[in-house]
Amino acid sequence: MAAEGKTIDALSQFELAPALGPIGASVNFTQSNLFMLIAAGLILALMHYGMRPAAVVPGRLQALAETFHEFARNLVVEQVGPEGRRFFPFVFTLFMFILFGNMLGLLPFAFTFTSHIAVTFTLAMIVFVLITVVAVSLHGKKFLGYFFPEGAPIWLAPIIIPVEIVSYLSRPVSLSIRLFANMVAGHVMLKVFATFVVLLGGLGAVGPFIAVLPLAVNVALVGFEVLVAFLQAYVFAILTCIYLHDAVHLH
């Protein structure tokens, strides 16, 4: 693994460090928090300055803002149904926050806050608590019927009910680990191939020529990561919508 004492150090990019000097250090303000603030600020700026002209024929920024808005609105209406429109602000916020977090992480020297399980699990728990509260407040006691579908033979109950409960409780876990693992795996892969470039580059006269290969792989990987960054934000939002559909309609 090592050449001339250099090793592949793929995981140190996820370490937290205090940001904003001594003030940040005293309140444990890390670069993860900094990038969350940047993402939130960028989303607000896009929505504010993009929609300010409110022109019939949109400019570039306005078209971008409207595309995101329409995309999320279609997602909610198609998955949850027309009565799910009141959940649109929640899903839209979640989608934009994760999308901007993933995309910001791809910039050089940036930090991906969605690569920390603490962040993604918090987001998933917000979704989980929301769907449970919505289901209980809409259906009351009938919500318990969710764990035993109507028409199933009663002697299957000892099998079906535990399975349904486990699958319900595993939702936040799978939701958070999917996003977190995708981001971590992508960034580790980029780092590993970037290290190959450095290691091969220091390998004598032919080294730099061979080092072009991992560099080309890395260029392709960055393109793939942009796709993954969008896809994971989309998957998180669409799964939230599917869970909301279950909560509103109970199967």
Partner: protein
């Protein structure tokens, strides 16, 4: 057995799950292509479901990868 060797072997065994994931993703896209080929009009409604299935299947691969990383580095 030495611990380092056992760790490397364990990480290798953990990613055997990719066998099933490869089958699954191939299956999803072959069915998607067949569906769009038979009925091109269904493309818009079928494509998001296919992508969702791909992402859900890929997550299994990432769970396995995560376990491999945990064995190797944690």
């Amino acid at each position: 057995m030495e611990v380092a060797a056992a760790k490397a072997l364990g990480a290798g065994i953990a990613v055997i799950a990719l066998f099933g994931v490869g089958l699954g993703i191939g299956n999803i896209f072959s069915t998607l292509i067949a569906t769009v080929g038979r009925n091109p009009a269904a493309r818009d409604s079928v494509f998001p479901i296919g992508i969702l299935g791909f992402a859900l299947t890929e997550a299994v691969a990432l769970f396995a990868l995560l376990i491999a990383f945990l064995i190797l580095f944690a």
